[in-house]
């Protein structure tokens, strides 16, 4: 479970870009049920661009594979739409997650970016929380991407100095979770999490920062370095 969000008065406005009609309608229903307003549903990259420019939504939920090539059109469209429409946040969904794609997405700035396996939609409340996180400028990365990043840096001496518990905390931090959310996920107190986070930052030689999303950024920069 993620942070309990307090729904603001005006519901979040969402654009869905997904070529499979079944999934598009399912996502729309799921998000509408959760109290979000789906302002447009499109099936390809140009459609996403048009909808984003017309409706100025808070967040776009984008599938990676879309027509015409069914390769990574959605990813390209997501990167492009973030460049063209300022303040638009994007959550990219994919059948597979690859660290490489995550890196390309994050290259345009990590604020208001999400990259999740499509399967995560099945855990409805987690998924809705992720959409809200991204919409409010947070960073959400799929655990699989994080584990790929960690395995890439596994020979790093400083990373090896972390205790298993600290590693768990680091993974959850990289996924974009707050201390509160981490404490719930690991069944420990928030104070314990704070202590772990402090140790991690010390061992990795990172500067402590207050805001959650800047903290994620520091961790990601370290992992991708």
């Amino acid at each position: 479970m993620r942070d309990a969000e307090i729904p603001s008065k005006a519901p979040l406005r969402v654009v869905i870009a997904e070529d499979s009609g079944l999934l598009r309608e399912g996502l729309a229903r799921l998000l509408a049920d959760a109290g979000l307003e789906v302002v447009a549903k499109v099936g390809d990259g140009p459609g996403l661009m048009a909808a984003a420019e017309q409706h100025h939504p808070d967040v776009a939920v984008v599938d990676v594979r879309m027509p015409p090539g069914y390769q990574d059109e959605g990813l390209k469209a997501a990167i492009e739409v973030r460049r063209r429409v300022p303040n638009l946040t994007v959550l990219v969904l994919s059948q597979y997650v690859e660290e490489r794609y995550g890196a390309e997405l994050l290259d345009g700035g990590a604020a208001g970016v999400g990259y999740l396996l499509k399967d995560r939609v099945a855990d409805v409340s987690d998924f809705v929380a992720a959409v809200r996180d991204v919409a409010s400028g947070g960073t959400v990365l799929d655990p699989e991407v994080v584990s790929q990043l960690l395995s890439r840096r596994r020979r790093d001496q400083r990373l090896a100095a972390l205790t298993p518990r600290e590693r768990e905390v680091l993974s959850l931090m990289a996924e974009g979770r707050s201390n509160h959310a981490i404490s719930i996920a690991l069944y420990v107190t928030e104070g314990a999490v704070e202590k772990h986070v402090k140790n991690i930052f010390g061992k990795l030689g990172l500067a402590q920062t207050g805001a959650d999303h800047r903290r994620v950024l520091a961790v990601l920069t370290y992992l991708r370095g």
């Binding site: 594979r65 390769q71 990574d72 059948q95 597979y96 690859e98 660290e99 490489r100 794609y101 396996l117 499509k118 399967d119 099945a122 855990d123 790929q148 395995s151 890439r152 596994r154 020979r155």
Partner: protein
């Protein structure tokens, strides 16, 4: 140490296993000189062995042709002539000759390989099992046996030339070294060197000897290497497979590799079917069942219904994960989207053993080459993770001269991988062979294991794709 094991055929027509030129060493020169000197005695030996069968064969063949010719002429007038008997008879008559020629030629091939370092593949047609007569017939019809005979007959003058040249070179060398000792005995008046110039004092004789020595050593060296190369050329022309035989062999290889690839494709389909059937399909069945039960229980027992829905939800997520893994095994999306470098990096990230990736490619290889190279790395890394006990591995991808792509996976594990035991590596060798590629597995007991695949880049469609 086990020798490197090459899987798949050597698929470069017109090339034999070793390069015809070796950097000369002193031992090599000595071996070559010995080879050239022994050609003549061996030629005389084989000529002596073959003389009787040749004479007998010519005589019998003449008799056979005349006698059978007459008989057949009569028969063809009256009824059906038996041409078969005529041909079989000639084959039988030439049997001792061809058999001995083949024996001699095989000894020569071994001698050339041992002394000159030039390996030749067998030029003979595949011998079918059958009666002695059938085999003799097949041999008589194989042009390679007759080329063997030509080589042995040619070896007499060639061997004589080689023998004479080497002996002359040796005499010349010894003569140069001992020049000051015998010069004045042979020319009491002084040896005429150039018009008016005479060598008539000891210092002059010494100077000539000192100048002449390197010249005669160089001449001897050039003579030995030149004659060796000439002999290799002769061997290649008469003892090696003819162009036609090479093409025939290649057609056979391609036919075999094609059917193996076809079989591998069918096996792959069966595996996918089995994986889907045993995995995702079963999970979906149980999911549907649980949902059905939940619907029935909803009114009467909401608590149980809730539990069933929980289980169904978990089942659905597991089915998704299984299908995802299966689909990635069939074709990884990142490979077509981002190319070999990204796809191999993703493989390395997933491998439980730390893997260093070193990929240097400009532009993208043809899709078939890229995919095959990817699966070589995937299989090799799977083996590293499962069997090697390695603590780290390294993947290198390179474009090498000759427009080939070379992929190499090396680990520091315990070795002992047998490419013929597992289906994985053997299947890869077939896939590579279909693209004219080769797989080399080096895995001595105690390690390390080195899997190396080479693929021609122009294989699939002759084009190189640009980076997107």
């Amino acid at each position: 140490m086990s020798a490197p094991m090459a899987l798949g055929p050597n698929v470069e027509p017109g090339h034999d296993s070793a390069s015809p030129f070796r950097p000369p060493s002193f031992a090599g020169l000595r071996a070559a000189a010995g080879f050239l000197l022994s050609s003549l005695p061996l030629a005389i030996f084989w000529f002596a062995v073959l003389a009787a069968p040749i004479l007998l064969g010519v005589f019998l063949a003449a008799v056979w042709v005349v006698v059978m010719g007459l008989i057949l002429a009569v028969l063809s007038w009256t009824g059906k002539p038996q041409w078969q008997t005529f041909v079989h008879g000639l084959a039988l008559i030439s049997a001792p000759l061809t058999l001995l020629s083949v024996r001699g030629a095989q000894a020569e091939r071994r001698r050339i390989a041992r002394s000159l370092g030039y390996q030749m593949s067998s030029p003979y047609r595949r011998m079918l099992r059958g009666s002695t007569l059938d085999r003799a017939h097949a041999r008589a019809e194989d042009p390679a046996a007759w080329r063997d005979l030509a080589y042995i007959l040619l070896l007499v003058p060639v061997g004589a030339t080689e023998f004479a040249s080497i002996v002359a070179a040796f005499v010349f060398l010894v003569g140069t070294i001992t020049l000051p000792a015998w010069l004045f005995a042979a020319f009491p008046e002084g040896a005429p060197l150039w018009q008016e110039v005479q060598i008539d004092t000891l210092p002059e004789a010494l100077i000539v000897a000192v100048v002449a020595l390197p010249v005669s050593v160089l001449a001897g060296y050039l003579l030995i290497t030149g004659l060796s190369q000439a002999h290799i050329a002769l061997g290649r022309a008469l003892l090696g497979p003819s162009r036609r035989a090479q093409l025939a062999e290649r057609v056979e290889e391609l036919t075999e590799s094609r059917s193996r690839v076809l079989a591998a494709t069918l096996a792959e389909r069966r595996r996918i079917e089995r994986d889907l059937h045993d995995g995702a399909q079963q999970r979906l069945v149980s999911l549907a069942m649980e949902l059905g039960m939940a619907r029935k229980k909803m009114a009467t027992d909401p608590v149980v219904a809730w539990q069933l829905i929980e289980e169904a939800h978990g089942e659905a997520k597991r089915a998704l994960a299984e299908i995802r893994d299966l689909v990635r095994g069939i074709h990884p999306a990142v490979l077509s989207d981002r190319g070999l470098d990204a796809a191999i990096s993703a493989l390395a990230d997933r491998c439980p053993v730390p893997v260093e990736v070193d990929a240097e490619l400009d532009g993208r290889p043809p899709e078939a080459v890229e995919t095959t190279a990817y699966f070589v790395v995937a299989e090799a890394l799977a083996n590293v993770a499962k069997h090697s006990g390695a603590s780290e591995a390294r993947v290198a991808v390179r474009r090498v001269p000759g427009d080939r792509l070379v992929v190499e996976v090396v680990d520091d594990g315990k070795g002992g991988a047998n490419p013929e035991a597992g289906t994985g590596l053997a299947g890869l060798a077939d896939r590579l062979a279909a693209l004219d590629g080769r797989l080399l597995v080096e895995s001595p007991a105690g390690g390390p294991t080195r899997v190396r695949a080479g693929l021609p880049l122009g294989a699939a469609d002759g084009t190189t794709r640009g980076t997107p």
